[in-house]
Amino acid sequence: MDILSLLIVIPVLTLVAIAFSKSYKQVRVIAAIGSGIQLIQSFNLVWQYLQERASGNTATMVFTKSYVWFEKFNIHYDIGVDGISVALIALTGIIVSAGVYASWGVKEQAKEFFIWLILLATGVFGFFIAIDLFTMFVFYEIAVIPMYLLIGVWGSGKKEYSAMKLTLMLMGASAILLVALIGLYLYSDVDGGVRTWNILELAKVTMPIEAQRIFFPMAFVGFGALGALFPFHTWSPDGHASAPTAVSMLHAGVLMKLGGYGALRIAVGLMPEAAQEQAWFFMILTGIGAVYGAFGAIMQTDLKYINAYSSVSHLAMILFAVLMFNVTALNGAVMQMISHGFITALFFSLIGMIYGRTHTRDIYKMGGLMKVMPILAGSYMVASFASLGLPGFSAFVAEMTIFVGAFQNPDIFYRITAVLVTSSIVITAVYILRAAGILLMGPIKNEEFKELSDSVWYEKVTLVILILSITVVGMAPLWLSNMITDSLTPMLQRFAAL
Amino acid sequence: MIQGIGLHEILVVSSLMFFLGIYGFFTRKNLITILMSIELILNSVNINFVAFNKYLYPNMMQGHFFSLFVIAIAAAEAAVAIAIIIDLFRNIKTIDVEKVSTMKN
């Protein structure tokens, strides 16, 4: 069993074990053990990867394996990782573990809940290790579908509406995406040879510009919708507001990163010419998204809506950076994926915990929580500071990398959008502090809230895992940044040839 | 062969009969009358088979046999259909085709 396939096998085994377990207590213990092993395996992978690179392996992808899956269309189960996917796999491992602890309190239909949750994680892991477009797409769909049930069944509020909206919009986007992928496949033999879905092979193909012009926007929008590209982001506020805690965490933390990852690796990575040609248009969209999401967040009163809009703003930066075509910005994009994954997961887990106590998410109904639950409130402050890009936390590193990268392009249009996107740090500060100020500070508004308890052990585990990750990346970013930069080199060589 | 009557005449008769059957099938609401319309349609087809056999390919018997089999099948079909109709009537007290839509929802 190779190290990458283990990443799929472990969750699948966990699924089987959960299916045979009796009570919700067993289920959650099994899920915790399974995700724990997965987490260790993810870190092991990071370690193995660094060893492999240190030993002088400079292949674009390492640990590659290939099995024929469907001969007729040359579909393979092709797997392999580079620094970017390794980093994102580690992110996924961490957030899935944290998510399992965050759903420790799920008792109703716990077995089904954890099965769908782990299945979702399986899809994400598969997506990150796959380097065959079709296999990638299959895993992508595996990741998206459980979301419908998780929100529709275990959600709150107008969950059916949200679940339906989320699924339909993502399905619509993936339909467009599939067209683009098939397009890539059909054009993969323009240089002669057989058609292929393999990313590494496709990267060598001189894709005709006419084809790129059609398929690039499809691929970018297809992935972008998952990455909350304006104006295809509206599923995200509703979806997050209705989703149960762990699902919000996983969704915003990991699943939405699939969009950025795909946009980077497939849309821009395989069709750079068209990407450069059409970048201006998508830069406008992402520029708007970054600022407009932040402005949208100012006026929200529901904690989850605030955070969802903040995600729109932060994810727009990822897509923005992806369009910058230089090593710094792309590096920043990946760092932002990881950073935002941690931070937004922390936010959603905290919101879930606070909601579990106060039974409201309306910030105006709460206040002075710092006094009542210092640990949760303190963690919320940490999340807030991390989110508004305070040094020492991961977002600062990521955002600064993006900004510096964006400024490397001398074009005046790029410059202006870069300043526009940069200005979102001010607006972010406004809405983050507004929410934190109303929620945590000031007098306690509701007498009943004085009786509320602070965090319990499994909540602390969630918080510690996430805060630790945020600060480690924030304080010692160099290794991560180097790991990502190395893996960007092949792509940059292609850009340089333009 | 019928003296003085060509294939065309027979076919015209049978197609008129056919479309009368069709018309009945469209407009009738009672299941039994619909069944009757179907019998008309089957009969018109039988006439066609027979006529083609007789006029165009007298050296073979395919049309003839086909008609025989159709009659057999028609008998079976009528038996089953009427059994269903009766059962339906026993259960829901109507054989109005527009009201028998409980399988729809």
Partner: protein, 642 residues
């Protein structure tokens, strides 16, 4: 000399922060305080030792102070040229700042033992103090702009946390938010400035940027916008960052509100250390400002000069003693900025630079003294308002005496510290710009007036009826007062008169002379100010009220700080929130989301109308089947026969 241990100066504070924030709550409050105080005292001793070693043994090589980088590590790499190092840069101004920060911070740590005694959040308070000290120390020893920016943000957040320390008080929360957001807005300018400079010069490093013969001096000269070169724009943007942190007009609005924080915090952050970060930034980038972008330097001069006058005028009418001090801080920061703006590059021409740094040093001492004194008063009276005070000199002799020393120092009366540094600033302005010279002279008179108004109102004047008699504070609070009073006397001319020996724009030591023509005039102006205050406020009298009436609208405008808060409120709430945020939230929920919902709705509608075809009616199906067949046959016939 190996200065590697200097990393411990911020490092200790960081450890103290981490320990206190994680485990502070679980222990006796005193332990947190002790840990914080011990760390800062060790850091202070290390700083003094470093200063001694640097200024007297190691620093001077060939008649020039060397920049020493004893520690440096790569923290983040953007590309081959641009990377962020975390390191320690030792040069005269950074070492001076180390001394200032650790000294004031030590005093505040000690003082807080008395002031914050019995408060619930005692460990939290010390944790945040440690965080602030760490960030500020990291800022001053930054080796490159980006490291500075990193710590710049961190001091911003420590300031937020400490202003909002009494988080259950809505006014404190909104003041904290205001401070953070206003400085954040300024930091946006700073950041864009950094990005522009990094793009122009391809480096963040102070050494490369500030080399007077380096490439950076000319790289941004061309390709301008609105008639100013790129470098000028970049530096103006960076100055916006500095202006935000140093609360220069028009970004000054957060500082008076920041007085909602505990008084030791005001002394440490909002008087002595953090607010001078902007001044320090300009001083740090001074060669670039002066050589590469003289226009930007003019902006610094104008903003600084105007702020000092503007704040002094407002300070006259305020009745909250901490706000009076806050506006005086603004005014003094304006002095420092103006001095930098007026300075030349070189030894004698660079007098403004030296004066600015010197004033930074003396101001830190006497303003911290004044704030801590004010804290002592508030502690005794339980009110911030002058109208609740009077005749306190009998109850609080030590506070009274030290406060008087601080007041004299800020008023510019020799031989107290403020006189010397302010005199040098006036000299520098006299040399370069007469307009701003006169503005600052007037400001000096106003300063003397309003400080003595404060002094007389609190310690003289009417004896109020207190609920329980005010009493002198304990040793933990009076010791820092005495120490800082001592510093306020000696940091001027007495034993470090030759500040020019240590700090000059081009790092070459030189001698400073007192220019008695400028100095004499400024003393005279100060004395006039003091006299007027004495006449008006020493004994209870009706004259101030009459004057206030006589200047009705003007008095009202100054009392309301020229309505700047209201303007900002209007801009933020009505324009930003009302005209941008609310519409965009609405737009998103209704138009963008509405489009998506409309799409779903149309699909639904279409499917509903098509659904009718699947009626479940056999006859309908048959009819469509036959219709279709007929149509198909017709179609085929038509095409087959044509």
């Amino acid at each position: 000399m190996d200065f590697q241990y200097t990393i411990l100066i911020p490092g200790l504070m960081f450890l103290s922060f981490v320990y206190n924030i994680l485990w502070g709550r679980t222990q006796a409050p005193k332990i947190a305080g002790l840990i914080g105080t011990t760390s800062i005292l060790i850091a202070a001793i290390l700083s003094y030792y470093t200063a001694y070693q640097y200024f007297f043994n190691v620093g001077l090589v060939n008649g020039t102070f060397q920049a020493i980088i004893p520690f440096k590590m790569e923290w983040l790499r953007f590309n081959d040229l641009l990377f962020i190092d975390m390191g320690v840069l030792l040069d005269p101004i950074s070492i001076m700042m180390l001394v200032v920060v650790t000294t004031i911070s030590s005093m505040v740590h000690i003082y807080s033992f008395g002031y914050m005694h019995g408060d619930d959040g005692f460990p939290r308070f010390y944790a945040f103090l440690s965080l602030f000290s760490f960030s500020m120390l990291g800022l001053v020893i930054a080796t490159n702009i980006f490291q500075m920016y990193v710590f710049w943000e961190l001091v911003g957040v420590s300031s937020f946390l400490l202003i909002g320390y009494y988080y259950q008080k809505p006014s404190a929360v909104s003041a904290a938010k205001k401070a953070f957001i206003v400085t954040r807005f300024a930091d946006f300018g700073f950041l864009v400035g950094i990005l522009l400079i990094s793009y122009i010069t391809g480096t963040f490093d102070f050494g490369l940027l500030n080399d007077p013969n380096g490439a950076a001096m000319t790289q941004g000269a061309g390709a301008g916008f609105l008639g100013l070169s790129v470098m000028t724009w970049a530096l103006i943007l960076m100055f916006i960052g500095g202006a935000g942190k140093s609360a220069m007009f028009p970004l000054h609005i957060w500082l008076p509100d920041a007085m909602e924080g505990p008084t030791p915090v005001s002394a440490l952050i909002h008087a002595a250390t953090m607010v001078v970060a902007g001044v320090y930034l300009v001083a740090r980038m001074f060669p670039l400002f002066h050589i590469a972008a003289p226009d930007a330097q003019q902006v610094v001069l104008a903003v600084g000069g105007f702020t000092s006058l503007f704040a002094a005028v407002i300070a006259i009418t305020q009745i909250d003693i901490k706000r009076v001090l806050a506006f005086s801080t603004l005014s003094q920061l304006g002095y420092m900025m103006a001095a930098l703006g007026a300075s030349g590059y070189g030894a004698e021409e660079g007098i403004g630079y030296t004066a600015s740094m010197w004033h930074l040093f003396t101001h830190a001492m006497f303003k911290a003294l004044l704030f801590l004194g004010a804290g002592s008063i508030i502690h005794a009276v339980h009110s911030n308002n002058m109208t609740d005070m009077g005749g306190l000199r009998k109850y609080m002799p030590i506070t009274h005496l030290t406060f008087l020393i601080g007041t004299l120092a800020i008023a510019g009366i020799p031989p107290f510290a403020g006189f010397f540094s302010k005199d040098e600033i006036l000299v520098a302005l006299h040399q370069s710009s007469h307009l701003w010279y006169w503005v600052e002279v007037v400001t000096a008179g106003l300063t003397a007036f309003y400080m003595f108004r404060l002094y007389f109102n609190v310690f003289w004047g009417e004896n109020r009826h207190y609920h329980h008699a005010p009493h002198e504070s304990g040793l933990a609070m009076t010791f820092p007062l005495m120490f800082l009073a001592f510093m306020a006397i000696v940091s001027g001319g007495f034993f470090m008169f030759d500040f020019g020996q240590f700090i000059s724009a081009n790092l070459v030591p030189y001698d400073i002379h007192i220019h008695w023509d400028v100095a004499g005039f400024s003393i005279a102006v100060a004395v006039v100010g003091i006299s007027v205050a004495t006449v008006l406020y020493m004994k209870p009298s009706a004259i101030p009220a009459k004057l206030a009436n006589a200047f009705g609208p003007l008095y009202k405008a100054t009392y309301n700080k020229f309505y700047f808060d209201e303007i900002y409120l209007f801009v933020t709430h009505k324009i930003v929130f009302g005209l941008i945020a609310r519409p965009s939230a609405w737009f998103d929920r209704h138009v963008v989301d509405g489009l998506m919902n409309a799409l779903a709705w149309i699909t639904n509608l279409a499917s509903n109308s098509i659904k009718g075809v699947q009626s479940g009616q056999l006859q309908h199906y048959a009819m469509s089947f036959v219709t279709g067949s007929v149509a198909l046959v017709l179609f085929l016939l038509y095409f087959m026969t044509r």
